[in-house]
Amino acid sequence: MQPLDPALDTLAKLLIHNARVMGERPAIRHKNLGIWQTWTWSEMLEEIRAFSVGVAELGLKRGDKFAIIGSNRPRLYWAICAGQALGAVPVPIYSDAVADEMAYVLAHAEVTLAVVEDQEQVDKVIAISDRIPMLGRVVYDEPRGLKDYDHNRLIAFEDVQRLGRKKLAEDPDCLRRWEAAVAEGKGKDLAIILYTSGTTGRSKGVMLTYENVIVSSRNGNAFDHLGPEEDVIAYLPMAWVGDHVLSYVQSYVGGFCVNCPETPDTVVDDRREIGTTYAFAPPRVYENSLTLTMVRMADAGPFKRKMFDFFIAFARRWGEQILDGKKVPLGVRILYAIGDFLVYAPLKNRFGLSRIRVAYTAGEAIGPEIFRFWRAVGLNLKQLYGQTEASVYVTAQPDGEIYADTVGTASPDVEIKISDGGEVLYRSPGVFAGYYKDPEKTAEVLTPDGWVHTGDAGFIDHKTGHLKIIDRAKDVGRLNDGTLFAPKYIENKLKFYPNIREAVAVGAGRDFVCAMINIDLTAVGSWAERNNVVYASYQELAGHPLVYGMIAQHVDEVNRSLAEEEVMAGAQIHRFLILPKELDADDGELTRTQKLRRGLISERYAPLVEALYAGATTAEISTQITFDDGHQGVIAARVAIRDLKPYPLPAAAKMERAA
């Protein structure tokens, strides 16, 4: 690893540096009242410095923790840097976290100050303030609705900046002291604590140093040749390491511009207006765009639909080869160019992907069909495998070496190995400094010689030399007859179908595999409209016999594809049901990053699982549901169960099991 320049080893130092060498270049944009507002690096330095001096006046000092709660707005990113300049440690929190989760994290991190977006977040913080005794002032960005609140504790972002500017103007020594505080920061210092919404138990605070995040970002930028010309859009939760690195650290290291959407609902339009060149998104985003496209096309006129179908089929055949720069016949190139003009370019433009040079999918496995679709239409989509504990990068796919079912080779400066139990381990300069106030958990994950246990089971693919991840190591189990059971592998196959939003496979320690399925309301709703299926609620649609019939077909196709794979053939789905409610993070069934919480699901839906294995044809369930406003209700339903006939196993697998 190339060591960090001590003059550029913290974010605040990088900010001052960028303001000096490219002061007039755009650093951040925000769409406000329908118009994109831009701040250059030197303007941003002034804003951040004013806020930084202001919060220092409010008492924030080196070593203090402070919370950041809200959606992606310039001022919240500024607050992160402003606190870091003083040596304080930011703790970004998922803004959709329910009060209980939020209270736990704020208290555990011992935050003394909170910078929040608006009234909604202020209300949440006030509601839990008796559980976070060390919390002092609460700074808010958006003043609406807060006029009549008690301002002994609350203070507006502008007022903090005003305080800072006044201080800077009155006290000639203040600027020098601030710069000295920045200079005091070192690469080994704690830069940020990111709480991971783990799939089990309480969230853990991952401590990352400046060196961790800056070296990782530098390597990431070099790997994909990212420079000051890039435009990215910041729309993923600020508490997620992916957003923190991409929209903040990589921007400071590479000097490129970060664009904050007008509201979380306008991201697609905003992205289209900006034309981002580099993107990072969980598979769900690509999945949703594809589902939306397919739904729209199903409603389009016959001519358009035929044209779309023809060119998409053509792209699936040739698109990836063209993208990878392989040799293809001239006729193919010409037809692809026509397809690009008629279909691919407009499609990419619709989702603001026209200018994309590199797009990553990470966080979860992406359905191979979804992945190939976007690559076929010319989007340079790549896979990346990362963790908060690694400051994102563990492996990534180099340009030209893209496979739908791998996550690539080790990123620069990263070493990987596979343990005897099949678990993936890595070591890199991005490896975290430990979990905050939790040395036991740290010791479980981080070995004394610097290796980190990912908790994921995987192997190095001999053909490509790439890493393949099959599932969480602890989730991989065996059926009673010894067949390997990797639930996520099966679930991902199911989730490829636009009609299936979420799936839970069960089977460890059982005789066969069963699945519980969530339908996708957008896709199935549109299908219902076209097929004259009348329904009044999600629950009714989910229980409709015709919907069952359609899902049964999908499950059957998944079984056929499982039957073709030697290792997985025994894990075909024998019985399934459709859940009467959507699995939801508010009910604790998914994490904030939309991963299944298996333990909780198997407990809550135990009656359904029992019915699946008891051979019943229906099952009763009553379960709790949390509405968006936080109030709770109970839904009760009778759920139907369908049986499927598995495909015969390939001979080889049978023999192996007989042996």
Partner: protein, 267 residues
């Protein structure tokens, strides 16, 4: 949800007074001798069971109906027969129970339409889109964007209103009324047909409008719960007559109101 009205509002200046108003359509008496007032800066609710005359009352205030008897005083002046457009120019804006939006136009254009009365330049200037007319349009657009931001409808700015779900259409209609910068905002069943979440959102917007812009609001509502949380004072109508006029808490306990809503005990 809302702090009880401050003493200033209770004792505040009267913005609009209704005195002994009666209205009938042929033999049907919609309103009989109704009197009440609306004070500056308050949220005033008019409630009552179906057919109590609530919408008729709003239409009288709005100038849409002429009462056969009684008088209406707005900003200290007794109002003569007037057209709704005159009411609008005078600073009264309203929304409708069954929505009255331009369905083929976008959210943005619908709200811009609310600015029509504020446009000073004539038709030809507007057509030229040059100089003063352009500046004026920029200024109006800025104001409209503030409303879009306020009501959190940026995501639907360029979508045709006819394609929006009902709850959002209601919000666009509120936006158009706000674009007139009214002194008195009349809301005809703003929560009708909404689910709980939409109702809570709408309640928050109504309170925010009242606090942020200081707009006086008179609203008609069916849903008692919402009204009680929202308003400073409540008028209760039943069969065209006023049966109560007090704070939400007092109204809730009023035996006559309970009778009007729940019927005679044992009946």
């Amino acid at each position: 949800m809302r702090a009880p009205s401050s003493p200033e509002v209770r004792a505040g200046e009267v913005l609009l007074a209704v005195d002994d108003v009666s209205l009938s359509f042929g033999g049907v008496r919609a309103l009989t001798g109704v009197s009440f007032d609306i004070r500056k800066g308050e949220i005033r609710a008019i409630i009552g069971p179906n057919g109590a005359g609530k919408t008729s009352m709003l239409n009288v205030i709005n100038g849409f109906y002429q009462p056969q008897a009684g008088r209406i005083t707005f900003k200290g002046e007794v109002r003569k027969a007037m057209r709704p457009s005159a009411a609008a120019e005078g600073g009264i804006a309203r929304t409708f129970q069954n929505l009255a939006l331009f369905r083929g136009m976008t959210t943005l254009d619908n709200i811009m339409a609310g600015r029509t009365l504020k446009m000073r330049r004539g038709f030809f200037w507007q057509l030229l889109r040059y100089g003063p007319a352009l500046n004026e349009e920029v200024e109006h657009r800025h104001r409209v964007e503030e409303i879009i931001d306020f009501l959190e409808i940026a995501a639907i700015r360029k979508i045709q209103v006819g394609r929006l779900p009902y709850g959002l259409q209601k919000r666009v209609e509120l936006g158009r009324a706000l674009a007139m910068e009214p002194e008195l905002l009349l809301l005809d069943e703003p929560m009708a047909g909404m689910n709980l979440e939409e109702k809570e959102d709408m309640s928050r917007f109504i309170i925010d409008v009242n606090q942020q812009y200081g707009t006086t609001i008179a609203l008609i509502e069916h849903d008692m719960g919402v009204v009680m949380d929202l308003s400073d004072r409540v008028v209760v109508l039943d069969y065209g007559r006023k049966i109560a006029d007090a704070t939400p808490d007092e109204v809730k306990r009023d035996p006559e109101v309970i009778r009007a809503y729940l019927g005679e005990p044992g009946a």
